[in-house]
Structure formats: structure tokens, C-alpha cells
Symmetry: C2
Subunit: 357 residues, 2 copies
Amino acid sequence: MKNNRFINALLRQPVDKTPIWLMRQAGRYLPEYRKLREQAGAFLTMCKNPELACEVTQQPLRRFELDAAIIFSDILTIPDAMGLGLHFVTGEGPQFSKPIRTAKDVNNLMLPDVEEKLSYVTDAIKLVKHELADSVPLIGFAGSPWTLACYMIEGGPSKNYQIIKKMLYDAPELLHILLEKIPQATITYLNAQIDAGADTIMVFDTWGGILSTAAYQEFSLAYMTKIIAAIKHERAGVPIPNIIFTKNGGNWLETMLEANSNAIGLDWTIDIGTARERVGDKVALQGNLDPNIMLSNPKKIRQQAELILQDFGAHPGHVFNLGHGITPEVPPENVEILVNHVHEYSAQFHAASPSKA
Amino acid sequence: MKNNRFINALLRQPVDKTPIWLMRQAGRYLPEYRKLREQAGAFLTMCKNPELACEVTQQPLRRFELDAAIIFSDILTIPDAMGLGLHFVTGEGPQFSKPIRTAKDVNNLMLPDVEEKLSYVTDAIKLVKHELADSVPLIGFAGSPWTLACYMIEGGPSKNYQIIKKMLYDAPELLHILLEKIPQATITYLNAQIDAGADTIMVFDTWGGILSTAAYQEFSLAYMTKIIAAIKHERAGVPIPNIIFTKNGGNWLETMLEANSNAIGLDWTIDIGTARERVGDKVALQGNLDPNIMLSNPKKIRQQAELILQDFGAHPGHVFNLGHGITPEVPPENVEILVNHVHEYSAQFHAASPSKA
């Protein structure tokens, strides 16, 4: 890999500069993305067309000196492949026409044939890998079983997640049957992504943070742990590191170490310095700029990025990122400012490193 | 006060049983509330009519052995009194027809004449106090300046709070001018509530949890601290304790101690035992059952309440509550089960208390 900063940082190896990529870096804030999307018609059409997904994945890399690409896809590809009828309603986000509500629904749920139903993702990964030509690593990903279950049971985004919470408290054994099924598909899916060329795996737990500590451990973290244990950790002798990310999971960092992931993603509500003190040398950390800072001015963006880099300090194991996905309103020039400044300013924290990436 | 458990717990004094009340205990889950609301037509009409507000405040107390009443009102009464045009849109929550967006808006914002514009709240408090006849204490409340500013600037609930965050990062001095104005009104308002008979004050910081640690301290906690310092702490020699509550504030408990409140409210995402270890004997804690447990069955409700009581253990200074407001879908009989069980089960933790409430 020509630029291996991202992988090295995940493995807590020395780097010359702190690597940076942005969650949702291929997306609506880019005019070239909006243009392609207008032509394609729908978000899912783009995800399911390997050529389009490959093109969109590369768009931010043509503009910015990002240290990683992430395959353009969605966390809901698995429930879609399970036949739940995924569609996107403007202004309301993802919806399933056949949500999972009853014991019969759970028991009838079939594991998807990943090779057949999700080949559009692995095909896109192969195309991207060819195009990237080992310039930067490519991130493959999946949603956490709990987060997928939230969408599958609620049928879409929800305010209070009352339907899944009612199942959690009233019929936990039923919810566990569902939560056991999902990782079976996810593990096959992530290993197929690795076989196709993904250099890192990230598991997105968008809704773990709505749980109590005990429920988080039992219904979300346990299943992420299972996935991290079962996916490949190398390909042809080259390490394939992994990252878990629970939004609003700052309370649970010590517990999250139990997943044995290489890295933990942080949202912006916890200081990365405090987080590092709590996890020590056990894991790399990814994050954690408030995405809304990207709406601000260059001076503020640089200043806030510096605070995070200072707070993490001169340790190995930091991947710079936002604390959540970049929003459509962000001016692309602000991303350039952030990416360049993180590289320039962070060099001082890696000056003493014995080897450089 | 015939039942002083709630006040004693807030002051970390011995009690015979752990006191309990529920955020939004007067509300849509009660058929008698829905009936009155149908007659009144609108939520704000009920808030602004002291007789109706008094009646609604008492409704849950007629059904359940709650240890406190909370005045039926809304956190947005202050911006409404400032002339921002508060109205409620079905399914969309509160909206302001004149949101604060510019320096001119901030500078032109007038402090309300609390005595004139908010007398409906103090009048309702006086009526409730008469009706309660010192059976249980009455809670008065206000929104935190940050939370009110979120609504005032965004104009209603928001997904990403981009408008106020942009002001926070681009024009922090302007946001501070607004945040300085709000407590001036809030302090007068809360002291008027105390003069009218409120026995405890709670400050609701619903949206502090969307901030980074540094921004929380500067833009939310600092202004709650100002309020707690300036409001009355006793009336005729009787202590008037206070509570601050930041949803998703579990990361910041040690910092929240700086507000010098008598108690800190917890949502359900942090273990109350862990929280108590972190704050020690410095403050009472209020919480923290997941409101969605109230949709479940009696056995689960009792079991989960027991876990919280066990986790807090045999210390003074626990007020049982939900981690957020009760939702309209909760069967009222589940509230009865919870309230009675908290009283029955908690007695064992107070058996060694030298004096009883």
C-alpha cells in the first residue's frame, strides 16, 4: 500500500502523520455525487450498481488527500437481502415494507445467499480495489446486529424505539433468536468483502446508545464481539484490522474493549484524551470532531482539529474522523481544509516515531 | 409536609422508603388527561389556564402513591413570554414562528415581565399548593438556557441542531449574549415559582447531550450553574432543594458537580451504581429506569426497578424516576405497579436509617 497510515494507526504502529477519513465522505455534500445521484434516480440504485458505487467511492479521494476509501454502500444491505423490502422515503429515511414483529416473522426469516444477493457489494469492492491500485486502503463495513434489528423491527427510523424495546423487555429470547441470525449473515458478508479486497472492516452501531448498560452488553456488544471474533483478521499474511463504533457509547469504553476490536470509534460527546486514558494501549481510537464544526469557518475548523490532536497527544493509534457522518450542508472546501490541517499539524506528534509510514 | 421523603432524599437525609415520581407523570398516558385535553383543545391552552393546570397536576396523584407533584407546564414558557410565537404542530412538536437567527434578533430580544406574562404558572402553583395541602412537595421547573436556545434558534425540534451549532462555532460571543439573557428571566421565573409555593426546582437540559465536553461546560453547564447559584435555596427557613438533568450527560457527572445542585438527574444509559461511585456523597441522584420498560409486563417492571434500587444500594440520596418522560403508550396500571414496588422493595435499604420520614 502506497499510503498505509490508516492501517498502521489502527494497528497502533508509528506513522508520519495522523491519518484521516470521514464517515459518509462519499455523499450529498459533493456536487459530483448529487449529479450522479440525479442521473441514477435513487440512492439504492447507486448502491446496487457496482460501476456507480465504484465511481462514488472514489469521488472524495479525487478532491482530498484522504488516507482511506470506504465502499459506497448502506448498513441495510443485509436486511434488504433477507427480503424485507427496503426502500427510501424522501425526508423519512429508510423504510421496510415487511418489518419483523412476531415470533413467526423471526422464525421465518431466511439467511440471505450472500454470494448471490450481495454480489453487487463485493463486485463494487473489486472495481474500487482495481481503481485505487493500492494507493490507499479500502474500508468494508456492516451495521451492528442491534442496529439492523432496530430498523428491521421498527420498520424505519424511530423516535423512542418502542417496538424493539418492548420485545427486548417482554420477549428477550425472541429478540436473541433474531440477533443470532443476523451475525451469521454479517460474518459471511464481511468475509466476502475481505476476500474481494476490503483492507479494514468497520461495524456501525448507530443505535447501541439508546440502551442501558446491561442491555447494551447483552443485546449489542455481545453480537459485535461475535462478529469481530469470527471475521478474518488477515489476508495472505497482511493484517485486516477492524473498528467498532457505538454512537453515544462513551460511557462504555472499558466494556467495549471486550469486543477485541483493533479500534473503537468515538462520537464527539467524549474527550478523546479522556477516552485514551480509559482504554490505554489496548486499542486504537477513531474520531471525533463534531460534524457540525464542518459548517463553520476555516479558522474554527483548524482550531478544533488541533484541540483533538493535542488531546490525543503523541501516542500511536489515532485515526482522525468526525464523530458521525458528514452532513449534506458542508461546503467541500472545508473538508479540504480539515484534511490538510490534520496532516500538517499532526506531524509534530509523530516526529519521534522510529519508523514512518 | 406529610410526606417529606422526596425532599429528604434530595437533601441526602434518611427516609423510610425510596421516593418516586415520574417525569411527565401528568400526561397523555392518563385517560382523564386526554379527556380534559380534548375539551381544552390544545396543550398550551391547558398550561395557560391555572385551573386546568392545577387539575392536570393532581391527576396522577389521585391514582398513584407518588412522593411529589410537578406543576403541569412546559419548558418553553419563557421564550413564549419573550414573544417568539410558540405553537404546537401535531406530530412535529413545538414551533416558534419568530426564531432567533441574527445578531439583531438576539439584541432585540426583550426580557419578559415574568410577573405579568407568566403569572399563569405562579397562579397554577398557588392553586395546586392549596389543593395538595402539604400532602406531598410540589416541583417547579424551567428549561436550561442551552436547551431553550436550541428551540429558540432552530425554531423547533431539530435532527442535527445545525443552526445553533453553526452559531456556536462561528459566533460564540453572539450565542453567549443570548445565553446570558435567558437565565436573567429564568432566575426571576424560578424564584417566583418558589415564592408561589414550589418546594423543589428542577432544571431540564434536554439537549446538553448533543455537545462536546468543552462546549457542554461553556454553553450549557455554566448557565445552569448560574441559575442554581442565584435561585432561592430556602423559603422561611425550609430548604428548597434543586435538581439538574442533562439527557445523555452520563460522561460529565464529575463536571456537573460544579453546578452545586442538590441532585443530578440521570437518564437510563448509565448505571446508577457507577454514577454513585463517581459522585460519592456530594449529590443526590434521581433516576433512572428506561421509560420503555413501562410498556412491558409487571414482572419485568418490578425486576428492572429492583436492579436499580440494588445498584444504588443502602445510601441516602436516591429519588427513583424514569430516565426520561413517560410516553403516551404506557398503561396506567404499570405505573401503579412501579410506584408500589419501589416503595415496598426499597424499605430494606433504609431499614438501618436512624430516623424515618
